[in-house]
């Protein structure tokens, strides 16, 4: 009956991942300006994809495949900050001011 437990655990993890992706998408629409929207995109990149990959690892069992799956978040760790930073830097350099109070 251990098979059912594994399925249940991966289902719960998938649901958590989907919740984070939903919140990120909501934030992408709801938040006021470019800089804030990058935070929402970052939420999808890190927690959303992380939980879904974790669920897939649990579901497929521990094998060479799970090592391959672990490589996905490892690459996301390096690439997702770079894209976020690139968007933020371009918006900043083209003179876009963030909304809200600014103290430097």
């Amino acid at each position: 009956m251990s098979y059912n437990y594994i399925e249940l655990i991966s289902l719960v993890l998938l649901a958590i991942g989907c919740f984070f992706i939903l919140s990120g998408s909501l934030g992408l629409i709801k938040l006021p300006d470019v800089f804030s929207r990058i935070h929402a995109a970052g939420l999808i990149d890190t927690l959303g994809s992380g939980f879904i990959v974790l669920a897939l690892i649990v579901y497929s069992g521990f094998s060479l495949l799970s090592l391959k799956l672990l490589l996905i978040p490892l690459f996301l760790i390096f690439t997702s900050p770079v894209t976020g930073h690139a968007i933020a830097l371009f918006a900043h350099e083209s003179g876009y001011k963030p909304k809200g109070k600014n103290k430097k």
Binding site: S23, G27, A40, G42, I77, S80, A88, P98, G100, K104
Partner: protein, 164 residues
Amino acid sequence: MAKLNKDSLKTLSFITYFIILFVFWFILSGYLKSLLLFFGLVSVLFVFWMSYRAKALEEDSLPLKIILRLPFYWIWLFKEIFKSGITTTALIWNGKYSPQLISVKASQKNRTGIANYANAITLTPGTVTIEVDKKIFLVHALSKKLSEDLQTDDMNKVITDLDK
């Protein structure tokens, strides 16, 4: 490891890089036949030669000292990401965000450390590094709590300690 001279340190970093590349090739392919392993070795050597030619194997780019502490650092980083991710999710749902710009000082000594710190700030949801000016970062935070978390300097200390 501090006693090693420069040349042996360089050789050690070459060997480590080679092992990492080969393990990476093996994880992606999963073949165990000797002919295919030989082809893997050839392609790994080719990549090694190319990165040597591109001068990507200088001391700064492959810091051997931190490679053993890296897994612990990643576990700590995942914990941080999870904590601030929960905060950001709550902010998105209840709408109590107040975006603000702050400046953060970095105390890392080399370029890898500074890049690491900037990446870690951007990776935790709710804070984004906008600009890096020598050792002062311009950071955009989604709320006051997130910016105060950053200004307690915990993350800075952990990443500076990584390079000791």
